[in-house]
Protein backbone atom coordinates (compact mmCIF):
# COMPACT_ATOMS: atom_id res chain seq x y z
CA UNK A 1 0.00 0.00 0.00
CA UNK A 2 1.26 3.43 -0.93
CA UNK A 3 0.98 6.19 1.66
CA UNK A 4 0.83 9.84 0.65
CA UNK A 5 1.98 12.37 3.24
CA UNK A 6 1.37 16.05 2.50
CA UNK A 7 3.73 18.32 4.49
CA UNK A 8 3.66 22.08 4.86
CA UNK A 9 6.53 24.47 5.39
CA UNK A 10 5.57 26.82 8.21
CA UNK A 11 7.14 29.25 10.64
CA UNK A 12 9.12 27.25 13.22
CA UNK A 13 7.14 26.51 16.36
CA UNK A 14 9.87 28.02 18.54
CA UNK A 15 9.81 31.37 16.75
CA UNK A 16 7.76 34.21 18.17
CA UNK A 17 5.85 35.52 15.13
CA UNK A 18 5.85 39.25 14.38
CA UNK A 19 3.11 41.00 12.49
CA UNK A 20 4.22 43.14 9.55
CA UNK A 21 4.10 46.88 10.14
CA UNK A 22 1.40 47.35 7.48
CA UNK A 23 -0.84 44.67 9.04
CA UNK A 24 -0.98 42.52 5.89
CA UNK A 25 0.40 39.37 7.48
CA UNK A 26 3.16 37.76 9.54
CA UNK A 27 6.70 38.88 8.78
CA UNK A 28 8.55 35.85 7.41
CA UNK A 29 11.76 37.60 6.33
CA UNK A 30 14.76 35.80 7.83
CA UNK A 31 12.51 33.72 10.06
CA UNK A 32 13.32 30.08 10.71
CA UNK A 33 10.92 27.78 8.87
CA UNK A 34 10.28 24.09 9.55
CA UNK A 35 7.88 21.29 8.82
CA UNK A 36 4.45 21.76 10.37
CA UNK A 37 4.66 19.67 13.60
CA UNK A 38 1.35 17.88 12.87
CA UNK A 39 2.71 16.86 9.46
CA UNK A 40 5.86 15.60 11.12
CA UNK A 41 3.64 13.30 13.16
CA UNK A 42 2.03 12.21 9.89
CA UNK A 43 5.43 11.37 8.38
CA UNK A 44 6.37 9.42 11.51
CA UNK A 45 3.11 7.45 11.39
CA UNK A 46 3.69 6.58 7.74
CA UNK A 47 7.21 5.37 8.54
CA UNK A 48 5.88 3.23 11.38
CA UNK A 49 3.34 1.70 8.99
CA UNK A 50 6.17 0.93 6.61
CA UNK A 51 8.24 -0.60 9.40
CA UNK A 52 5.26 -2.81 10.27
CA UNK A 53 5.12 -3.95 6.65
CA UNK A 54 1.75 -2.25 6.03
CA UNK A 55 3.00 0.56 3.82
CA UNK A 56 5.22 -0.23 0.86
CA UNK A 57 6.09 3.25 -0.32
CA UNK A 58 5.87 6.68 1.31
CA UNK A 59 5.46 9.71 -0.92
CA UNK A 60 5.85 13.13 0.65
CA UNK A 61 4.30 16.10 -1.10
CA UNK A 62 4.53 19.80 -0.42
CA UNK A 63 2.80 22.70 -2.08
CA UNK A 64 4.56 26.02 -1.83
CA UNK A 65 7.65 28.02 -2.67
CA UNK A 66 10.96 26.51 -3.86
CA UNK A 67 12.25 26.46 -0.28
CA UNK A 68 9.56 23.90 0.57
CA UNK A 69 12.07 21.52 -0.95
CA UNK A 70 13.93 21.66 2.40
CA UNK A 71 10.78 20.45 4.15
CA UNK A 72 10.55 17.57 1.71
CA UNK A 73 14.21 16.73 2.31
CA UNK A 74 13.42 16.50 6.00
CA UNK A 75 10.61 14.05 5.25
CA UNK A 76 12.96 12.05 3.01
CA UNK A 77 15.62 12.06 5.73
CA UNK A 78 13.09 10.75 8.23
CA UNK A 79 12.20 7.88 5.90
CA UNK A 80 9.91 8.89 3.03
CA UNK A 81 10.89 7.21 -0.25
CA UNK A 82 10.28 10.00 -2.72
CA UNK A 83 8.86 13.48 -2.89
CA UNK A 84 6.77 15.78 -5.04
CA UNK A 85 7.09 19.54 -4.89
CA UNK A 86 4.21 21.50 -6.36
CA UNK A 87 5.65 24.92 -6.89
CA UNK A 88 3.53 28.01 -6.35
CA UNK A 89 4.29 31.52 -5.16
CA UNK A 90 0.65 31.98 -4.11
CA UNK A 91 -0.31 31.48 -0.50
CA UNK A 92 -2.33 28.41 -1.40
CA UNK A 93 -5.59 28.14 0.54
CA UNK A 94 -6.92 24.82 1.90
CA UNK A 95 -9.31 24.25 -1.01
CA UNK A 96 -6.59 24.82 -3.61
CA UNK A 97 -4.28 22.48 -1.68
CA UNK A 98 -7.01 19.85 -1.43
CA UNK A 99 -7.64 20.09 -5.19
CA UNK A 100 -3.96 19.62 -5.98
CA UNK A 101 -3.76 16.71 -3.55
CA UNK A 102 -6.76 15.15 -5.28
CA UNK A 103 -4.84 15.37 -8.55
CA UNK A 104 -1.87 13.62 -6.96
CA UNK A 105 -4.07 10.96 -5.35
CA UNK A 106 -5.68 10.27 -8.75
CA UNK A 107 -2.21 9.79 -10.22
CA UNK A 108 -0.57 7.85 -7.42
CA UNK A 109 -3.55 5.88 -6.05
CA UNK A 110 -2.33 5.69 -2.42
CA UNK A 111 -4.23 3.48 0.03
CA UNK A 112 -3.86 6.10 2.72
CA UNK A 113 -3.30 9.85 2.88
CA UNK A 114 -1.98 10.94 6.27
CA UNK A 115 -1.63 14.64 7.02
CA UNK A 116 -1.64 17.01 9.96
CA UNK A 117 -5.07 18.00 11.25
CA UNK A 118 -4.01 21.61 10.79
CA UNK A 119 -0.94 23.74 10.12
CA UNK A 120 0.36 25.89 12.95
CA UNK A 121 0.55 29.01 10.77
CA UNK A 122 -3.10 29.57 9.77
CA UNK A 123 -4.75 26.82 11.91
CA UNK A 124 -7.33 26.26 9.14
CA UNK A 125 -8.00 22.59 9.91
CA UNK A 126 -9.70 22.09 6.54
CA UNK A 127 -7.40 20.45 4.01
CA UNK A 128 -7.90 16.82 5.09
CA UNK A 129 -11.67 17.15 5.27
CA UNK A 130 -11.88 18.94 1.90
CA UNK A 131 -9.67 16.31 0.28
CA UNK A 132 -11.92 13.51 1.61
CA UNK A 133 -14.97 15.30 0.21
CA UNK A 134 -13.37 15.90 -3.20
CA UNK A 135 -12.32 12.26 -3.42
CA UNK A 136 -15.56 10.93 -1.97
CA UNK A 137 -13.51 8.81 0.45
CA UNK A 138 -13.82 8.23 4.22
CA UNK A 139 -11.94 10.39 6.70
CA UNK A 140 -10.63 9.85 10.22
CA UNK A 141 -9.65 13.21 11.65
CA UNK A 142 -7.73 14.11 14.87
CA UNK A 143 -6.22 10.63 15.05
CA UNK A 144 -4.52 9.56 18.27
CA UNK A 145 -4.18 5.96 17.11
CA UNK A 146 -4.14 4.37 13.65
CA UNK A 147 -4.34 0.65 12.92
CA UNK A 148 -4.49 -0.94 9.51
CA UNK A 149 -5.83 -4.47 8.92
CA UNK A 150 -6.50 -5.52 5.35
CA UNK A 151 -8.52 -2.77 3.71
CA UNK A 152 -9.77 -1.35 7.01
CA UNK A 153 -8.17 1.52 8.88
CA UNK A 154 -9.23 1.86 12.50
CA UNK A 155 -8.73 5.39 13.76
CA UNK A 156 -9.08 6.50 17.35
CA UNK A 157 -10.14 10.15 17.34
CA UNK A 158 -9.72 12.74 20.03
CA UNK A 159 -13.09 14.45 20.33
CA UNK A 160 -14.42 16.80 22.99
CA UNK A 161 -16.31 14.07 24.82
CA UNK A 162 -13.39 11.61 24.89
CA UNK A 163 -12.20 9.06 22.35
CA UNK A 164 -14.17 7.95 19.35
CA UNK A 165 -13.17 4.98 17.23
CA UNK A 166 -14.07 4.83 13.56
CA UNK A 167 -13.40 2.18 10.92
CA UNK A 168 -12.64 3.39 7.40
CA UNK A 169 -12.34 1.47 4.14
CA UNK A 170 -9.20 2.28 2.18
CA UNK A 171 -8.39 4.44 0.35
CA UNK A 172 -8.92 6.80 3.26
CA UNK A 173 -7.77 10.13 4.66
CA UNK A 174 -6.38 10.40 8.18
CA UNK A 175 -5.45 13.65 9.92
CA UNK A 176 -3.13 13.51 12.90
CA UNK A 177 -3.45 14.90 16.40
CA UNK A 178 -0.53 15.66 18.71
CA UNK A 179 -0.64 12.47 20.74
CA UNK A 180 -0.51 10.04 17.82
CA UNK A 181 3.25 9.54 18.14
CA UNK A 182 6.54 11.25 18.90
CA UNK A 183 8.40 11.88 15.64
CA UNK A 184 11.97 10.62 15.39
CA UNK A 185 15.00 12.75 14.69
CA UNK A 186 16.33 12.13 11.23
CA UNK A 187 19.73 10.50 11.59
CA UNK A 188 22.64 12.41 10.11
CA UNK A 189 23.55 9.63 7.63
CA UNK A 190 19.93 9.55 6.45
CA UNK A 191 19.98 13.32 5.92
CA UNK A 192 22.97 12.81 3.63
CA UNK A 193 21.23 9.98 1.79
CA UNK A 194 18.04 12.05 1.36
CA UNK A 195 19.92 14.07 -1.27
CA UNK A 196 19.82 11.15 -3.67
CA UNK A 197 16.14 10.25 -3.20
CA UNK A 198 13.88 11.31 -6.09
CA UNK A 199 12.13 14.65 -5.87
CA UNK A 200 9.72 15.56 -8.69
CA UNK A 201 8.90 19.17 -9.51
CA UNK A 202 5.33 19.99 -10.51
CA UNK A 203 3.09 23.03 -10.79
CA UNK A 204 -0.60 23.52 -9.88
CA UNK A 205 -1.29 23.74 -13.64
CA UNK A 206 -0.16 20.09 -13.96
CA UNK A 207 -3.27 19.23 -11.94
CA UNK A 208 -5.45 21.88 -13.56
CA UNK A 209 -5.68 23.89 -10.35
CA UNK A 210 -5.65 27.66 -9.99
CA UNK A 211 -4.13 28.63 -6.63
CA UNK A 212 -5.05 32.32 -6.75
CA UNK A 213 -6.49 33.26 -3.33
CA UNK A 214 -10.27 33.23 -2.96
CA UNK A 215 -10.17 34.85 0.45
CA UNK A 216 -9.20 38.44 1.18
CA UNK A 217 -7.26 39.14 4.36
CA UNK A 218 -8.49 42.43 5.77
CA UNK A 219 -6.08 42.88 8.63
CA UNK A 220 -3.59 40.92 10.76
CA UNK A 221 -2.85 42.20 14.23
CA UNK A 222 -1.11 41.08 17.41
CA UNK A 223 -3.36 39.59 20.10
CA UNK A 224 -4.29 42.15 22.76
CA UNK A 225 -1.67 42.38 25.49
CA UNK A 226 -2.76 40.81 28.76
CA UNK A 227 -3.54 43.38 31.42
CA UNK A 228 -1.90 43.06 34.82
CA UNK A 229 -4.10 41.39 37.44
CA UNK A 230 -5.08 42.61 40.89
CA UNK A 231 -4.26 40.84 44.16
CA UNK A 232 -7.12 40.36 46.58
CA UNK A 233 -6.88 39.50 50.27
CA UNK A 234 -9.81 37.09 50.52
CA UNK A 235 -12.88 35.64 48.84
CA UNK A 236 -15.13 38.46 50.02
CA UNK A 237 -12.95 41.07 48.38
CA UNK A 238 -12.78 38.95 45.22
CA UNK A 239 -16.57 38.74 45.01
CA UNK A 240 -16.82 42.50 45.69
CA UNK A 241 -14.46 43.21 42.79
CA UNK A 242 -16.30 40.85 40.48
CA UNK A 243 -19.57 42.59 41.33
CA UNK A 244 -18.06 45.96 40.50
CA UNK A 245 -16.98 44.53 37.14
CA UNK A 246 -20.47 43.18 36.61
CA UNK A 247 -19.22 39.60 36.24
CA UNK A 248 -21.33 38.22 39.09
CA UNK A 249 -24.65 39.47 40.37
Amino acid sequence: MKVLVPVKRVIDYNVKPRVKMDGTGVDLANVKMSMNPFDEIAVEEAIRLKEKGVATEIIAVSIGVQKAQETLRTALAMGADRAILVLTEDDAEPLAVAKILKGIVDEEQPGLVILGKQAIDDDSNQTGQMLAALLGRPQGTFASKVEVAGDTVTVTREVDGGLETVALKTPAIVTTDLRLNEPRYASLPNIMKAKSKPLANKTPADYGVDTAPRLKTLKVEEPAKRQAGVKVADVDELIGKLKVLGVVA
Partner: protein, 383 residues
Protein backbone atom coordinates in the same frame (compact mmCIF):
# COMPACT_ATOMS: atom_id res chain seq x y z
CA UNK B 1 28.51 19.15 1.09
CA UNK B 2 25.87 21.49 -0.30
CA UNK B 3 24.64 24.14 2.10
CA UNK B 4 21.03 22.91 2.08
CA UNK B 5 22.07 19.48 3.34
CA UNK B 6 24.44 20.94 5.91
CA UNK B 7 21.73 23.30 7.19
CA UNK B 8 19.46 20.32 7.58
CA UNK B 9 22.18 18.47 9.53
CA UNK B 10 22.83 21.46 11.75
CA UNK B 11 19.15 22.19 12.38
CA UNK B 12 18.54 18.58 13.31
CA UNK B 13 21.42 18.65 15.79
CA UNK B 14 20.25 22.02 17.15
CA UNK B 15 16.81 20.63 17.78
CA UNK B 16 18.22 17.52 19.46
CA UNK B 17 20.33 19.80 21.69
CA UNK B 18 17.32 21.96 22.61
CA UNK B 19 14.84 19.16 23.14
CA UNK B 20 16.98 16.38 24.59
CA UNK B 21 20.41 17.48 25.76
CA UNK B 22 19.80 20.80 27.50
CA UNK B 23 16.84 19.44 29.53
CA UNK B 24 19.07 16.53 30.71
CA UNK B 25 21.98 18.73 31.83
CA UNK B 26 21.03 18.93 35.49
CA UNK B 27 20.62 15.19 35.67
CA UNK B 28 24.09 14.67 34.17
CA UNK B 29 25.53 17.04 36.77
CA UNK B 30 23.68 15.32 39.60
CA UNK B 31 24.42 11.72 38.55
CA UNK B 32 27.91 12.43 37.22
CA UNK B 33 26.91 10.36 34.17
CA UNK B 34 25.35 10.86 30.76
CA UNK B 35 22.17 8.72 30.73
CA UNK B 36 22.48 5.60 28.58
CA UNK B 37 19.26 6.54 26.76
CA UNK B 38 20.95 9.71 25.51
CA UNK B 39 24.11 7.85 24.50
CA UNK B 40 21.84 5.56 22.44
CA UNK B 41 20.12 8.51 20.82
CA UNK B 42 23.47 10.06 19.96
CA UNK B 43 24.46 6.75 18.42
CA UNK B 44 21.22 6.45 16.40
CA UNK B 45 21.65 9.99 15.21
CA UNK B 46 25.05 9.12 13.76
CA UNK B 47 27.05 11.58 15.85
CA UNK B 48 29.92 9.12 16.35
CA UNK B 49 30.59 9.14 12.61
CA UNK B 50 31.09 12.86 12.03
CA UNK B 51 34.71 12.58 10.96
CA UNK B 52 34.78 9.09 9.42
CA UNK B 53 34.79 9.14 5.58
CA UNK B 54 31.50 8.25 3.89
CA UNK B 55 33.00 5.18 2.23
CA UNK B 56 33.52 3.71 5.72
CA UNK B 57 30.03 4.51 6.93
CA UNK B 58 30.58 7.96 8.42
CA UNK B 59 29.53 11.43 7.40
CA UNK B 60 32.95 12.51 6.15
CA UNK B 61 32.51 16.07 7.33
CA UNK B 62 35.12 18.65 6.48
CA UNK B 63 36.82 20.34 9.42
CA UNK B 64 34.67 23.44 8.99
CA UNK B 65 31.53 21.30 9.00
CA UNK B 66 32.64 19.23 11.98
CA UNK B 67 33.34 22.45 13.87
CA UNK B 68 29.87 23.76 13.01
CA UNK B 69 28.20 20.63 14.40
CA UNK B 70 30.40 20.49 17.51
CA UNK B 71 29.60 24.14 18.20
CA UNK B 72 25.88 23.24 18.23
CA UNK B 73 26.39 20.24 20.51
CA UNK B 74 28.45 22.15 23.06
CA UNK B 75 25.68 24.67 23.63
CA UNK B 76 24.58 21.85 25.93
CA UNK B 77 26.79 20.60 28.75
CA UNK B 78 30.24 19.81 27.38
CA UNK B 79 29.97 16.36 29.00
CA UNK B 80 27.71 15.24 26.15
CA UNK B 81 30.46 16.12 23.68
CA UNK B 82 32.91 13.98 25.56
CA UNK B 83 30.78 10.90 24.82
CA UNK B 84 31.65 11.22 21.13
CA UNK B 85 34.80 13.33 21.43
CA UNK B 86 37.42 10.61 21.65
CA UNK B 87 35.78 8.57 18.88
CA UNK B 88 35.35 11.52 16.51
CA UNK B 89 38.87 12.67 17.35
CA UNK B 90 41.94 10.49 17.56
CA UNK B 91 40.03 7.21 17.96
CA UNK B 92 38.98 7.32 14.33
CA UNK B 93 41.38 9.87 12.86
CA UNK B 94 44.57 7.96 13.67
CA UNK B 95 43.18 5.08 11.61
CA UNK B 96 41.72 7.36 8.91
CA UNK B 97 45.04 9.12 8.36
CA UNK B 98 47.62 6.38 8.89
CA UNK B 99 45.76 3.08 9.20
CA UNK B 100 46.15 0.17 6.79
CA UNK B 101 43.22 -0.66 4.53
CA UNK B 102 42.45 -3.73 6.66
CA UNK B 103 42.42 -1.61 9.84
CA UNK B 104 40.13 0.93 8.20
CA UNK B 105 37.68 -1.75 7.11
CA UNK B 106 37.73 -3.49 10.45
CA UNK B 107 37.33 -0.47 12.71
CA UNK B 108 35.96 2.62 10.95
CA UNK B 109 32.43 1.40 10.15
CA UNK B 110 31.97 0.24 13.74
CA UNK B 111 33.43 3.49 15.12
CA UNK B 112 31.15 5.54 12.87
CA UNK B 113 28.11 3.57 14.01
CA UNK B 114 29.07 4.07 17.65
CA UNK B 115 29.26 0.30 18.19
CA UNK B 116 32.89 0.74 19.15
CA UNK B 117 33.78 3.63 21.43
CA UNK B 118 37.39 4.67 21.20
CA UNK B 119 39.58 6.21 23.86
CA UNK B 120 43.02 7.72 23.41
CA UNK B 121 45.69 6.54 25.84
CA UNK B 122 48.75 8.79 25.68
CA UNK B 123 49.13 10.65 28.99
CA UNK B 124 50.96 8.86 31.82
CA UNK B 125 51.66 9.71 35.46
CA UNK B 126 55.15 10.88 34.40
CA UNK B 127 54.49 11.97 30.83
CA UNK B 128 52.00 14.33 29.21
CA UNK B 129 53.05 16.75 26.53
CA UNK B 130 56.63 15.50 26.87
CA UNK B 131 56.27 12.37 24.79
CA UNK B 132 59.97 11.66 25.10
CA UNK B 133 59.42 10.50 28.65
CA UNK B 134 56.72 7.97 27.78
CA UNK B 135 57.26 4.84 29.91
CA UNK B 136 54.67 2.36 28.70
CA UNK B 137 56.55 -0.40 26.89
CA UNK B 138 55.62 -2.75 24.07
CA UNK B 139 58.12 -5.59 23.65
CA UNK B 140 57.97 -7.82 20.58
CA UNK B 141 57.65 -11.55 21.34
CA UNK B 142 57.23 -13.50 18.12
CA UNK B 143 54.35 -11.85 16.27
CA UNK B 144 52.87 -10.22 19.36
CA UNK B 145 53.78 -7.32 21.62
CA UNK B 146 53.76 -7.53 25.41
CA UNK B 147 52.50 -4.18 26.77
CA UNK B 148 53.10 -2.85 30.28
CA UNK B 149 52.41 0.58 31.74
CA UNK B 150 49.88 2.96 33.27
CA UNK B 151 47.92 5.66 31.47
CA UNK B 152 46.37 8.59 33.32
CA UNK B 153 43.27 10.86 32.91
CA UNK B 154 42.03 8.71 30.04
CA UNK B 155 38.75 10.18 28.81
CA UNK B 156 35.98 7.66 28.15
CA UNK B 157 38.09 4.74 29.43
CA UNK B 158 35.13 3.30 31.41
CA UNK B 159 32.96 3.07 28.31
CA UNK B 160 35.72 2.38 25.76
CA UNK B 161 35.66 -0.77 23.70
CA UNK B 162 38.95 0.13 22.05
CA UNK B 163 42.05 2.11 23.02
CA UNK B 164 44.41 3.89 20.72
CA UNK B 165 47.45 3.31 22.87
CA UNK B 166 50.81 4.99 22.61
CA UNK B 167 53.67 2.77 23.78
CA UNK B 168 57.45 2.62 23.36
CA UNK B 169 58.34 -0.21 20.97
CA UNK B 170 62.00 0.71 20.57
CA UNK B 171 63.71 1.09 23.92
CA UNK B 172 66.92 2.14 22.17
CA UNK B 173 65.41 5.24 20.60
CA UNK B 174 65.08 8.20 22.93
CA UNK B 175 62.27 10.69 22.44
CA UNK B 176 59.28 10.24 20.21
CA UNK B 177 60.89 8.11 17.50
CA UNK B 178 60.50 4.84 19.42
CA UNK B 179 56.78 5.22 20.00
CA UNK B 180 54.08 3.25 18.20
CA UNK B 181 50.30 3.63 18.18
CA UNK B 182 48.39 0.41 18.87
CA UNK B 183 44.74 -0.50 18.43
CA UNK B 184 43.94 -2.33 21.66
CA UNK B 185 40.51 -3.92 22.23
CA UNK B 186 39.40 -3.01 25.76
CA UNK B 187 38.50 -6.60 26.62
CA UNK B 188 42.06 -7.85 26.12
CA UNK B 189 43.21 -9.74 29.26
CA UNK B 190 45.54 -7.70 31.48
CA UNK B 191 43.76 -4.35 31.11
CA UNK B 192 42.25 -2.86 34.27
CA UNK B 193 40.74 0.51 35.12
CA UNK B 194 41.45 2.74 38.08
CA UNK B 195 38.75 4.42 40.15
CA UNK B 196 36.90 7.20 38.28
CA UNK B 197 38.68 10.56 38.71
CA UNK B 198 36.97 13.17 40.86
CA UNK B 199 37.17 16.39 38.87
CA UNK B 200 36.53 20.12 39.29
CA UNK B 201 33.92 20.12 36.54
CA UNK B 202 32.71 18.34 33.42
CA UNK B 203 30.80 15.89 35.60
CA UNK B 204 29.49 13.09 33.46
CA UNK B 205 32.66 13.06 31.35
CA UNK B 206 34.43 9.94 32.52
CA UNK B 207 38.16 9.73 33.05
CA UNK B 208 40.32 7.27 34.95
CA UNK B 209 43.67 5.46 34.94
CA UNK B 210 44.10 2.51 32.61
CA UNK B 211 46.62 -0.12 33.68
CA UNK B 212 48.22 -2.46 31.14
CA UNK B 213 49.72 -5.54 32.78
CA UNK B 214 51.31 -8.04 30.35
CA UNK B 215 48.73 -7.25 27.69
CA UNK B 216 49.47 -9.25 24.53
CA UNK B 217 48.60 -7.51 21.25
CA UNK B 218 49.24 -8.77 17.69
CA UNK B 219 51.93 -6.81 15.85
CA UNK B 220 49.43 -6.14 13.05
CA UNK B 221 47.52 -3.88 15.47
CA UNK B 222 50.12 -1.14 15.09
CA UNK B 223 48.35 1.67 13.24
CA UNK B 224 49.76 1.68 9.71
CA UNK B 225 51.69 -1.52 10.42
CA UNK B 226 55.09 0.14 10.87
CA UNK B 227 56.54 0.62 14.38
CA UNK B 228 58.02 3.94 15.46
CA UNK B 229 55.55 6.22 13.69
CA UNK B 230 53.04 6.54 16.54
CA UNK B 231 53.95 10.03 17.51
CA UNK B 232 53.83 11.25 13.94
CA UNK B 233 50.30 9.86 13.70
CA UNK B 234 49.33 11.65 16.91
CA UNK B 235 50.75 14.93 15.63
CA UNK B 236 48.69 14.73 12.45
CA UNK B 237 45.55 14.29 14.47
CA UNK B 238 46.35 17.07 16.92
CA UNK B 239 45.75 19.93 14.47
CA UNK B 240 42.25 18.66 13.85
CA UNK B 241 41.73 18.19 17.57
CA UNK B 242 42.72 21.77 18.28
CA UNK B 243 40.20 23.18 15.83
CA UNK B 244 37.66 20.85 17.44
CA UNK B 245 38.40 22.32 20.90
CA UNK B 246 37.97 25.83 19.49
CA UNK B 247 34.51 24.75 18.29
CA UNK B 248 33.77 23.44 21.79
CA UNK B 249 34.82 26.84 23.17
CA UNK B 250 32.52 28.61 20.74
CA UNK B 251 29.50 26.46 21.56
CA UNK B 252 30.05 27.27 25.22
CA UNK B 253 30.53 30.98 24.38
CA UNK B 254 27.19 30.99 22.57
CA UNK B 255 25.35 29.53 25.53
CA UNK B 256 27.09 31.70 28.14
CA UNK B 257 26.20 34.82 26.18
CA UNK B 258 22.57 33.69 25.78
CA UNK B 259 22.31 33.08 29.52
CA UNK B 260 23.99 36.37 30.41
CA UNK B 261 21.76 38.39 28.12
CA UNK B 262 18.61 36.79 29.44
CA UNK B 263 19.64 37.34 33.05
CA UNK B 264 20.74 40.93 32.48
CA UNK B 265 17.43 41.78 30.83
CA UNK B 266 15.32 40.14 33.54
CA UNK B 267 17.20 41.00 36.71
CA UNK B 268 16.11 44.40 38.07
CA UNK B 269 18.06 46.62 40.43
CA UNK B 270 17.57 50.31 41.24
CA UNK B 271 14.30 50.19 39.33
CA UNK B 272 15.54 48.94 35.97
CA UNK B 273 16.98 45.82 34.31
CA UNK B 274 20.71 45.55 35.01
CA UNK B 275 21.19 45.41 31.22
CA UNK B 276 20.48 49.16 31.25
CA UNK B 277 23.63 49.81 33.27
CA UNK B 278 26.67 50.67 31.22
CA UNK B 279 29.10 48.68 33.37
CA UNK B 280 27.03 45.55 32.68
CA UNK B 281 26.84 46.52 29.00
CA UNK B 282 30.62 46.70 28.96
CA UNK B 283 30.87 43.09 30.12
CA UNK B 284 28.28 41.96 27.55
CA UNK B 285 30.13 43.78 24.77
CA UNK B 286 33.46 42.23 25.77
CA UNK B 287 31.84 38.79 25.64
CA UNK B 288 30.61 39.47 22.11
CA UNK B 289 34.01 40.72 20.95
CA UNK B 290 35.68 37.58 22.32
CA UNK B 291 33.07 35.40 20.61
CA UNK B 292 33.40 37.14 17.25
CA UNK B 293 37.19 37.09 17.22
CA UNK B 294 37.24 33.40 18.11
CA UNK B 295 34.69 32.69 15.40
CA UNK B 296 36.66 34.61 12.79
CA UNK B 297 39.90 32.83 13.68
CA UNK B 298 38.21 29.44 13.73
CA UNK B 299 36.50 29.90 10.36
CA UNK B 300 39.72 31.06 8.76
CA UNK B 301 41.80 28.25 10.26
CA UNK B 302 39.26 25.53 9.43
CA UNK B 303 39.02 26.77 5.83
CA UNK B 304 42.79 26.67 5.43
CA UNK B 305 42.95 23.23 7.08
CA UNK B 306 40.31 21.95 4.62
CA UNK B 307 42.28 23.44 1.73
CA UNK B 308 45.20 21.25 2.78
CA UNK B 309 47.47 24.06 3.95
CA UNK B 310 49.98 23.56 6.72
CA UNK B 311 48.32 25.23 9.69
CA UNK B 312 49.89 23.77 12.84
CA UNK B 313 50.87 27.18 14.17
CA UNK B 314 47.41 28.55 13.42
CA UNK B 315 45.74 25.59 15.13
CA UNK B 316 47.78 26.18 18.26
CA UNK B 317 47.01 29.89 18.17
CA UNK B 318 43.32 29.15 17.69
CA UNK B 319 43.11 26.60 20.51
CA UNK B 320 45.01 28.95 22.80
CA UNK B 321 42.89 31.98 21.94
CA UNK B 322 39.52 30.19 21.95
CA UNK B 323 40.00 28.45 25.29
CA UNK B 324 41.26 31.62 26.98
CA UNK B 325 38.41 33.64 25.45
CA UNK B 326 35.72 31.29 26.72
CA UNK B 327 37.41 31.42 30.13
CA UNK B 328 37.03 35.20 30.12
CA UNK B 329 33.44 34.94 28.97
CA UNK B 330 32.55 32.43 31.69
CA UNK B 331 34.14 34.72 34.28
CA UNK B 332 32.08 37.69 33.05
CA UNK B 333 28.93 35.57 32.86
CA UNK B 334 29.29 34.73 36.56
CA UNK B 335 29.94 38.40 37.30
CA UNK B 336 26.83 39.51 35.39
CA UNK B 337 24.79 36.97 37.35
CA UNK B 338 26.20 38.39 40.61
CA UNK B 339 25.44 36.29 43.70
CA UNK B 340 23.21 34.00 41.63
CA UNK B 341 26.17 33.15 39.41
CA UNK B 342 27.95 31.59 42.38
CA UNK B 343 24.99 29.33 43.12
CA UNK B 344 24.83 25.79 41.77
CA UNK B 345 21.19 26.24 40.75
CA UNK B 346 22.30 28.64 38.01
CA UNK B 347 23.97 26.97 35.07
CA UNK B 348 26.71 29.57 34.71
CA UNK B 349 28.27 28.20 37.89
CA UNK B 350 28.69 24.84 36.16
CA UNK B 351 29.93 26.39 32.91
CA UNK B 352 32.52 28.34 34.88
CA UNK B 353 33.96 25.08 36.26
CA UNK B 354 33.57 23.21 32.98
CA UNK B 355 35.42 25.71 30.78
CA UNK B 356 38.48 25.61 33.03
CA UNK B 357 39.60 22.34 31.48
CA UNK B 358 39.65 23.80 27.98
CA UNK B 359 42.83 25.72 28.76
CA UNK B 360 44.46 22.49 29.93
CA UNK B 361 43.59 19.47 27.82
CA UNK B 362 44.78 18.87 24.25
CA UNK B 363 47.88 20.91 25.17
CA UNK B 364 47.86 23.63 27.84
CA UNK B 365 47.88 27.28 26.85
CA UNK B 366 51.57 27.32 27.76
CA UNK B 367 52.35 24.38 25.46
CA UNK B 368 50.49 26.21 22.66
CA UNK B 369 52.50 29.39 23.30
CA UNK B 370 55.69 27.35 23.11
CA UNK B 371 54.63 25.72 19.84
CA UNK B 372 53.74 29.09 18.34
CA UNK B 373 56.96 30.78 19.44
CA UNK B 374 59.18 27.90 18.34
CA UNK B 375 57.54 27.90 14.89
CA UNK B 376 58.10 31.66 14.66
CA UNK B 377 61.74 31.31 15.65
CA UNK B 378 62.31 28.43 13.21
CA UNK B 379 60.84 30.47 10.39
CA UNK B 380 62.91 33.52 11.30
CA UNK B 381 66.11 31.49 11.54
CA UNK B 382 65.63 29.95 8.10
CA UNK B 383 64.63 33.25 6.48
Amino acid sequence: MDSETFDLLRNTVRRFVEERLIPAEDQVEQDDAVPEAIVSEMREMGLFGLSVPEEYGGLGLSMAEEAGIIREITRASVSFRSVIGTTVGIGSQGIVIDGTEAQKREWLPRLAAGEVIASFALTEPEAGSDAGSLRTTAVLEGDRYRINGTKRYITNAPRATMFTLMARTDQGVKGSGGISAFIVPADTPGISLGAPDRKMGQRGAKTCDVIFDDVMIPAENIIGGTPGLGFKTAMKVLDRGRIHIAAVSLGMCDRLIEMSLRYAMERRQFGSPIADFQLVQGMLADCKVDQLTTEALMNATAARFDAGEKVSLDCSALKYYASEAVGRIADRAVQIHGGAGYMAEYKVERFYRDVRLLRIYEGTSQIQQTIIAKAMLRAAASA
